[in-house]
């Protein structure tokens, strides 16, 4: 039961632009973060893969940047309703970071400098669906957008793409992250409009 808003016509996107339900198109790149922006010096940066009992893999900035990187394009969908299409990134695929790792974990908790966390099924990080990205639009990723490096999982709402990522913990049981504990959806598929918990 939609109430028609008297005198409202709205501004529609071009018909050939397909957006997830309830999203609108933007061309700039808004910022949403829960706290101050961490500034992580590259000589102190590290990225780890853990299993809850110990570190399985660890990279410093140099060894991370020595990994094969790829450029890719991604459509971004923020739960605050903006979408930005065709953005250009460079990063290391999670397939590369997780290659040949033997695990029967079902989920992953990404954690960040500044203590942000977000949870995902491990399968959502594989098969060319997720990257640790360090360049955006041909430039080093700015701190307010998650630099030096952020997780990018573009098929889910953008809060799953943890800024300032410093590692992932593999888990045998799902565990909600920061926003997932504060009323946002556990999975966050924009095409199914999974914004808030209980949807």
């Amino acid at each position: 039961m939609d109430i028609v808003s008297r005198g409202f016509s709205g501004r529609r996107s071009a018909a050939d632009v397909k957006l997830p339900p309830g999203q609108y198109l933007t061309t700039d790149f808004p910022v949403l973060s829960a706290g101050p922006t961490p500034h992580v010096p590259l000589d102190q940066w590290e990225f780890t893969i853990e299993d809850g009992t110990g570190v399985l893999r660890r990279w410093n900035w140099k060894s991370f940047r020595d990994l094969p990187a790829e450029t890719f394009r991604a459509d971004l969908h923020c739960v605050t309703r903006w979408s930005k299409l065709g953005t250009s990134w460079e990063g290391v695929s999670l397939d590369t970071l997780l290659a040949d790792l033997k695990t029967d974990a079902s989920h992953a908790l990404a954690h960040s400098y500044g203590d942000y966390t977000t949870n995902l099924p491990l399968s959502d990080l594989m098969k060319k669906q997720a990257w640790v990205a360090f360049r955006f639009d041909g430039k080093d990723l700015a701190p307010e957008h998650g630099g030096p490096a952020r997780l990018l999982v573009p098929h889910l709402y953008l809060w799953k793409s943890a800024k300032w990522v410093r590692g992932i913990t593999l888990m045998h049981q799902d565990k909600p992250g920061f926003w997932e504990s504060l009323g946002y959806h556990n999975y966050g598929d924009p095409w199914r409009e999974q914004r808030y918990s209980g949807e």
Partner: protein, 243 residues
Amino acid sequence: MWRPGTVVVLHDETATARTITLEVPDWPGHVAGQHVDVRLTAPDGYSAVRSYSIASAPNTEGRVELTVERLANGEVSPYLTQEVAIGDRLELRGPIGGWFVWRTQQTEPIQLIAGGSGIVPLMAMIRSRVAAASIAPFRLLYSVREPGAVLYRDELEALSNHGQPVNLTYTYTRAVPKDWPRPPGRIDAALIATSTWPSNLVPTCYVCGPTAFVENAAGLLSDYGNSADKIRTERFGPTGDRK
């Protein structure tokens, strides 16, 4: 779940900002700092949704006040600030958000820093503190473009008079009142040092405003010795429509 709310009061705060009071019969209640989604629907079924912070304190009357700043190229805010009339019904979903909130059980010192219409959720916190007769000490550092852009001016003045609950400091980025001691400009380290709680009192800090404002103010609070986990931020971008 979308709930219809009826517009019962409209109040222009400034030339570009308007407060809309809605009566929402089955409103589940909210916590200061939370926001709602507002949905507008055109006759052909097209709809647009934006998030707006709640300005009012939690109450039992099912009343929700939103203060909306008109954005020049906005899709929803021009309608809400110019078209909407008393008696109209809007659809609301919420309240939303469990992080950028102040709960009446909190007793620690509270530092609020607002940039422009970022005052809205912070005003809900101030009103909530007053309504609950909390004794939590509040300070507000409120940055506006020029004196005419201050929202809730009279109410803030009454609440910050001597003996009143809020210690209030204004700062201006473009134009200052006559004889104002500080030139217009961004918040800097000296202003943080003179107008915010000493960090050894371990205040919880809430910073709300445009992205660049929040980046600057949160960074300065951190430099001043406040730990990152005590600084909560809410940013709105040029297209965010979000207060």
